[in-house]
């Protein structure tokens, strides 16, 4: 019963904090923005909010960090059920399907139109826009912090095996890792296999290879989509990863074990990792003195016609049930964030990439990508725009995808611990994942994704 009591207490606390945040006599109009970033990133968001408040006098945004993406969504739902929701909320990529069916939002494109802002939606990188747009291409939310996965490689280690470039195919990766092992490197490559790594291991891989994760175009075309990763190229990929792990070419690194992937790479312990471009800054700041490294697009199997990689991150949703004055403020805020100058500020202070072509061009024109600490981040844009998004590289639009990711972690751990074979583990992933999707569909009977 404590769980329920705790939940109730959290609900009450959430309601209380919003109640306190909205004073009765407000001039300028105040509105709330809840976000899920913490630490350094939260400070950057706070600065951005301050800049917005100082840029005009009519509105004041109150920005509150909820700690992480999960908590932001949970607290927003609790607040919404108590009619104390914020005007703008940051929802992570995989929460998109849940948001679309919530009936709790005001479409971003309508909001901007009603308040007289002209947004050129074609200006968004298609790989980013399509992830959040409806199947018909309407933008219900605004892409905000965006990243994609890259391969980080240690130039010194590759120089030792006579390579000056990052491997482009997985076949080369296998050979290079073996060569590094033979050259005496203890940990040629580090991966982790928790729920979070579904993003780079399963989702990015599938997009780059144009392989579906689920039927119905990854769920864009209906709630009756079901997983099919147990019969795509992904099976071969997991088989190879497992093979390399058994041969000692890959080590598992996670915080629970003492050192996460990024730390392992930055300290020079492991020579290759796959992680978000958002870690580019961290690696730069924490790297071993004098270590030479670079980033490259994720490899693909030989003979693959390479497609765009997927965006990761979050978008900004405007919730329903607020006053017109608050919506005006929210629209002004979203317009402020859309500005290329804000994009430059945002990307400089975080590792995230600009979401619009004009933002990217503006940053290029200021010489951002030529300077040492930021050089290399343009690879992320190249990876995201490698091709026009296909029906299945638009993104993943599945209900309760957080739980499917958790199931991914569970089955990968079972596979790597030799509890089950690769095919058996992935079959279970599909079976359990489908049960989650089934349940989601039952919760929204007769409804369709917009």
């Amino acid at each position: 019963m404590t769980i329920i009591k705790r939940g109730l207490a959290a609900l009450a606390a959430g309601a209380l904090s919003t109640a306190l945040a909205v004073p009765a006599f407000a001039e300028p109009v105040k509105f709330d923005f809840w976000f899920g970033l913490s630490g350094d990133l939260a400070r950057v968001v706070d600065t951005m909010c301050k800049n917005f408040n100082e840029s005009q006098k009519d509105y004041e945004v109150v920005c509150t960090s909820q700690g992480n993406y999960d908590a932001t969504l949970q607290n927003t739902i609790a607040a919404f059920r108590a009619s104390k929701q914020p005007a703008v909320v940051q929802v992570y990529d995989v929460g998109t399907a849940t948001m679309m069916l919530s009936g709790a939002y005001k479409p971003a494109d309508k909001l901007m139109e009603e308040n007289g802002y002209k947004i050129d939606y074609a200006d968004y990188f298609p790989g980013i826009a399509r992830y959040y747009a409806t199947s018909k291409g309407e933008m219900l939310s605004f892409p905000f912090n965006s990243s994609t996965a890259l391969m980080y490689w240690n130039k010194d280690a590759f120089a030792k095996i006579g390579k000056t470039e990052a491997p482009k195919t997985w076949e080369d990766v296998g050979a290079d890792l073996q060569a590094m092992k033979d050259a005496g490197y203890e940990c040629p490559m580090a991966i982790n296999i928790s729920a979070n790594e579904s993003w780079q291991l399963m989702e990015q891989f599938s997009a780059i290879h144009n392989q579906p994760i689920a039927t119905k175009n990854n769920g864009y075309d209906g709630l009756d989509a079901r997983l099919e990763v147990n019969k795509t190229k992904f099976v071969q990929y997991v088989t190879d990863l497992k093979k390399w792990y058994d041969a000692g070419l890959i080590k598992i690194k996670s915080k629970d074990l003492g050192q996460d992937m990024v730390q392992a790479f930055a300290s020079g312990t492991c020579q290759v990792i796959m992680t978000s471009v958002g870690d580019h800054g961290t690696v730069g700041k924490t790297q071993k003195e004098g270590m030479k490294w670079d980033v490259a697009e994720l490899p693909a199997y030989a003979g693959t016609e390479r497609k765009n990689s997927l965006v990761g991150g979050a978008s900004l949703w405007v919730l329903s049930g607020k006053s017109d004055a608050e919506y005006k403020g929210a629209a002004a805020f979203l317009n402020f964030i859309h500005d290329p100058k804000t994009a430059l500020f945002w990307s400089t202070n975080t590792g995230y990439i600009p979401v619009t072509k004009s933002g990217f061009d503006y940053m290029k024109s200021t010489g951002f990508y030529d300077k040492a600490p930021y050089k290399g981040r343009e690879v992320a844009i190249a990876s995201l725009t490698a091709s026009e998004p296909t029906e299945i590289t638009r993104g993943v639009r599945l209900g309760n995808f957080t739980q499917i990711r958790a199931e991914f972690g569970t089955q990968m751990q079972a596979i790597f611990a030799n509890k089950v074979g690769v095919q058996e583990g992935l079959d279970t992933l599909v079976k359990n994942g489908d049960a989650i999707l089934d349940r989601f569909q039952q919760t929204y009977p007769g409804e369709t994704l917009p």
């Binding site: 739902i77 849940t98 009936g103 996670s254 003492g258 957080t402 079972a414 919760t443």
Partner: protein, 294 residues
Amino acid sequence: MEKRVTFASWTIGILFAVPQLLLIFTFFYWPAGQAVYWSLTLQQPWGGGNIWVGLDNFRSILANAVYWNSITASLVFAGISTGLAMFVALVLAALTDRQLAGSRFYRVVLIWPYGIAAPALAMAFRFILAPEAGFMAVVNQVWPGFWDPGLDGADAMASIIIAFSWKYVGYNFIFFLAAFQAIPRSLIEAAAMDGSGVMRRFWDIQFPLITPTIFFLLVINITESFQDSFGIVDIMTSGGPANATNLMVYKIYSDGFKGLDYSGAAAQSIILMLLIVVLTIFQFRFIERRVHYR
């Protein structure tokens, strides 16, 4: 002449009870009732509506192998951690009671662990038991691959049992020590004069006299191991690897709050409540018989 104080009616008695009843209703019966209602429906997370599904939620949970695995894990966790925490606390309390050198010092020190919040102590144990960085790294150097809670479910289970037991040793210790000190010295001294040794006195005098405390702690420890394990699991293992430490209370949290499956989580919490009720009834029915109250 009637001397007993009586109240004219029930009203005044009920009025005195009302504040308490209201609190219990608001914070226990009402949410518990909501949980029962949710468990019989399919709730849309955003409150858009719900569908009456009867016992479907329970059926699908009980048909799920992952859930049975979670029940097994919870029972294993409850059994071992309760046994460990109580045994260690009993030994420590018995030694403290004997006034061995330094006992006053560790009487104070041993109480501290219970004051530490579960997530904080879990964080500490995560470092201590980390296979590559902590204390266990030394062991792993000697026997490579000996300790790997990242992939080995048994190791992960051992980690959370150690962390949980460590916390409850402090709690149990306070009660055991109080129980030992409530035993009249004269009894023990008399036994000593009759020539019985330390172990003999422990088994024949002290142990029977503290059985009420043992029984109380057994009930509390088992109940808490089902509920208070959440913070430790969340920080140390997140239920992994491969669901090896996905205890019932953690599964409720991850299904309900992370997965937004409020109905399924509500049904699970009802099952957990019933399980604890059954276990407690069992203990009162069968174990309490062996307790000697003075």
